[in-house]
């Protein structure tokens, strides 16, 4: 379905001929999502009708108004990570926000940064570190958007001390689906970005839940995000060649990889570490991911995993703890507390991570979140994730336990990759106030039996969430998922459809992966 010529011309007038295209090759480049291949056998998703590169909020606003006028659906994309960024149907134009890439403000004393959607986390963090600050970087990696409204979930390796996206948002500039610009909180009153809530009820309540709306509720064009103290140097020199960089970090930033003898002891240790507020990161990086993180190719990764398996997988459940301090005394205190907690809960430090060079490399990988893709996709297998709802630490651990339990039989049958069974990534939030965990699994997309096992496991984990009160999984997207979980969760889907309809009366903000409103 070609775009109405008048609509195309009107859009071209806004962004200029250089910033709009309907060339098939360009459209195919946007339709390419490798993750799709595992499901459909074809890495290409649906084509958009056109791709536009708006350069400003004003551009976006006019584009959205034109879309309303011509009843053309639009979907915004920032850095993109997966097929959920693509259109769910025909007649959709893509707004690629890559020209909106400015760090608008860093307010060091008020501890926030204002960014446009195509500022990536690596870029923002590098600027922040010059000021002794850092930000939450989602586990997908530092190449993702720093706007805390784009990622599906928003938790990252340092969320223990840097919280997560939904709770880091301050003021937001938001082009609503009808083309009006909403500026939340203090921004709407014209006094700055420092607060995203009010006057009166906070519209952050409909902006997102613990998941983002995946482009289905207008376009977020700027947002302020809280930032946090970084105890390390302003600039960290690195040596070596990619991906084997070794950073020069001070000795008062450290890391330990600790394995506990049981889920119970692991849970207990998490609570203790949270309450004692010693950790910059308390990051449940499973041994499989640790091995892939520290090595430079898949073969090396598998070899290292075999090497550390007896000390980790075979002994219990592991966590990576990063400690950062501003003084030697603080560092000594935190190390002492960690040792005590480890001793009280029967944990053991992994010797590999006690080696200074390995340790520093690992710290840098986690603080910079540079290795998410390496840890999950390096084997070029199909990676799936389940669970991922957040609440207490114990709840998060129970998600991982259930995930491992359900997964084990497929590994034993050789249908899923033997990643140690417990391959759940997760973290404490806010020094133990909450926790997050998602169980990852790897299948071979070229093997129908393996593919089927992955699908069946996905169904089993979804059913476990419903039957065992383990939250709404992060993979629940779109009408099918929400219509399944909504009736078990206060009919939340019906309420969301109501406000989607109220904000998007013409249904132009493409929302197949969010929720749609029947005509």
């Amino acid at each position: 379905m070609a775009l109405n010529r008048n609509a195309y011309k009107a859009l071209e007038d806004i962004v200029g001929a250089d910033n709009i295209s309907e060339e098939p090759a360009v459209l195919d480049a946007y339709a390419l999502h490798w993750g799709l291949k595992a499901f459909t056998g074809n890495p290409f998703g649906r084509r958009h009708e056109a791709v536009l590169l708006p350069g400003s909020t004003e551009d976006v606003q006019v584009i959205v108004k034109i879309c309303n006028q011509y009843k053309v659906k639009f979907k915004a994309l920032s850095t993109g990570w997966g097929s959920m960024n693509g259109p769910g149907g025909e007649g959709v134009i893509q707004l690629d926000l890559r020209r909106m890439n400015r760090i608008v403000e860093i307010n060091e004393k008020a501890m926030y940064a204002v960014v446009e959607p195509y500022v990536i986390n690596a870029q923002l963090q590098a600027e922040l570190m010059k000021r002794g600050l850092t930000c939450n970087i989602i586990s997908a990696g530092s190449n993702t958007s720093a706007l805390p409204l784009t990622a599906l979930m928003g938790s990252g390796p340092t969320s223990n001390s840097t919280s997560y996206n939904n709770r880091n948002i301050l003021g937001v500039e938001w082009v609503l689906p009808n083309g009006e610009i909403l500026r939340t909180g203090s921004l709407g009153s014209g006094v700055g970005w420092f607060c995203g809530d009010g006057p009166g009820p906070s519209l952050r309540g409909i902006m997102r839940g613990y998941k983002s709306p995946l482009g289905g509720l207008g376009v977020f064009t700027k947002a302020a995000t809280k930032v946090y103290h970084w105890p390390g140097p302003e600039v960290v020199p690195v040596e070596g060649a990619s991906p084997g960089y070794t950073p020069k970090l001070p000795d008062i930033i450290s890391a330990h990889y600790i394995t506990f003898p049981s889920w119970e002891r692991f849970t207990e240790a998490g609570y203790k570490m949270g309450e004692s507020e010693i950790a910059l990161a308390c990051d449940k990086l499973p041994p499989w991911m640790l091995a892939l993180n520290l090595t430079e190719n898949a073969r090396e990764g598998i070899r290292l995993f075999s090497e550390i398996r007896p000390q980790t997988v075979d002994k219990g459940i592991s966590v990576l703890v990063v400690i950062g301090a501003d003084s030697q005394r603080e560092f000594d205190y935190k190390e002492k507390v960690l040792k005590r907690i480890t001793s009280e809960t029967g944990g053991e430090y992994l010797p590999l991570v006690e080696e200074p060079a390995t340790r520093k490399k690992l710290i840098w990988h986690r603080v910079r979140a540079t290795t998410g893709a390496r840890e999950t996709f390096r084997l070029m297998l199909s990676q799936g994730a389940s669970f991922g709802s957040c609440d207490s630490w114990e709840f998060a651990v129970n998600e991982a336990r259930e995930g491992a339990r359900l997964k084990q039989k497929y590994i034993e049958k050789g249908l899923l990759v033997d990643d140690g069974v417990d391959n759940a990534w997760g973290t404490l939030y806010e020094h133990g106030h909450m926790g997050h965990m998602d169980e990852l699994y790897l299948s071979d997309p070229t093997d129908p039996a393996s593919k089927q096992a992955a699908f069946t496991l996905m169904e089993e984990t979804t059913r476990a969430c419903m039957e065992k009160a383990l939250g709404c999984p992060q993979t629940v997207m779109g009408d099918r998922g929400h219509d399944l979980f909504g009736p078990r969760m206060n009919n939340y889907h019906l309420w969301v459809r109501k406000f989607k309809k109220a904000l998007d009366p013409n249904g132009v903000s493409e929302s197949t992966n969010y929720i749609t409103v029947p005509e």
Binding site: K109, A110, M111, Y112, S163, N166, R167, L170, L176, E180, G185, S186, G188, S189, V191, G192, F194, C195, D197, G198, P199, G200, P201, L203, G205, I206, R208, G209, Y210, K211, K226, Y228, H229, E275, S276, D326, S327, R329, Y333, K336, V337, S389, D391, S392, E394, F395, E430, H433, E467, K468, A469, C472, H482, F485, R488, M489, N490, V496, F499, A502
Partner: protein, 487 residues
Amino acid sequence: MGKKEELTEIVGSQQVIVNTHSIEKLSRDESFVCPTRPAFIVKPRNTGEVQLIVKWANKTLTPLVPISSGAPHFRGDSVPSVDGAVIVDLSEMNKIMRIDRKNRVAMIEPGVTFGALCPELEKEGLRPNMTLLPRPRKSVVGSVLEREPVLMPKYHWDIIDPLACTEVIFGSGDLYRTGAASGPGTIEEQWKSGEAQKSHAEPMADWCRILQGAQGTMGIITWATIRCELIPNLEEPFMVGSQNLPSLFELIHWLVRLRLADECLVLNNVSLAHILTRQRRGEYERLRDRLPPWILFFCISGYEYYPEEKVSYQIEKLTDLARRAGVKPVKEIAKVPAQTLLKIVQKPSEEPYWKLRAKGSCYDIFCLATYDRIPELIQVMNIAAEEGDCPVADMGIYLQPIVQGTSYHCEFNLFFNPANAAEVSRLRNLSQQAIKSLMDNGAFFSRPYGTWVDVVYERDAETASVLKKIKAILDPNNIMNPGKLCF
């Protein structure tokens, strides 16, 4: 059947109050909103009754005004804006349903007061992130729903804190559980899976945020979970007196950024003197005059593991930071020990409520701002007070860093004699003038009450427009506290 009889059928005759005195008391408060008599007061005892009341109100198009705190009320939100309203008094829904030490959370009904909750939490080694000296009959749920500032900014990660999940009857009459409490599973099944109703967000919305700051216009909360914090093993409180706010802000920035301080707040000499003194003649004035203009109060704490060592390295760090900021933390100012103040702010106010001690009533003007705007806002307020013939020397000021220090709650306490008509009139005029001037100079009124509302929403029409759409979804017949905010 009349409305009273219909309500009686729902809650029983003893729970429907028609007593003239009680009704008269709730027709006004300490603020300047126009008095309006409610028709009845109804006191539900459980969620089922609340839901029936809301459904009845939809059928009869009767306005409902929920209240949970005991009198006195201060902001006009509990005074009906329209005739014929029914006050839904939740004070008898006062059960502490669960205290979960491991997950640092309490589940409570809206009638639970700070006075009732604090001792129960203490038994479990927990404490709430307190607001500044709430009156003992102040509802904890009421306080968190109003986004009242809390004393420990390092535990204030998000402005929604310490509110976590809620059970609410929306204005439509539908029961909804927000956040993790939404399911799947019953609350008991969630407890079994390890959930503690800590996460306030659902998958696609965060309704709790819509209920917060809503002044009862969206629905009626029937329980909420509240984040709690640990009681420290060791506490070292300090005060810093100063003429110079920027130097205090510099120190506060680092105290919060490095997570050194638990409680951390600034009072001017007027507010601190009112907090510390009773009604004895001359005592307040003497203390006010002895105190420096600004007093930063903060507490460094140690917990389970090696508390002395933790406090020790933190004090070493503090000493360095204070030196760089050019200020000196001390353990006593004007013969007021920091330890005394610590004990005071960790509890609700003693009776009489501290804001009423001086002159019988108090009108607060409060807003949010970044640290750098605050000196200017104080100047603006001083000028407005002088022009309005209100004595600047008697104006209390409370500055509270919030949300990890990203902004400050800035509160002006205007103590007045409610029997003095001229004084009341001056203050009423001052409040109107001051709001505009404060907004012009960087103040954000995230919680607009009473007469401030029009000015605030005039500057943010789009927020008002979207809020009205949401209100129409949750409360289609506009029965919940109509006339408040932009509704």
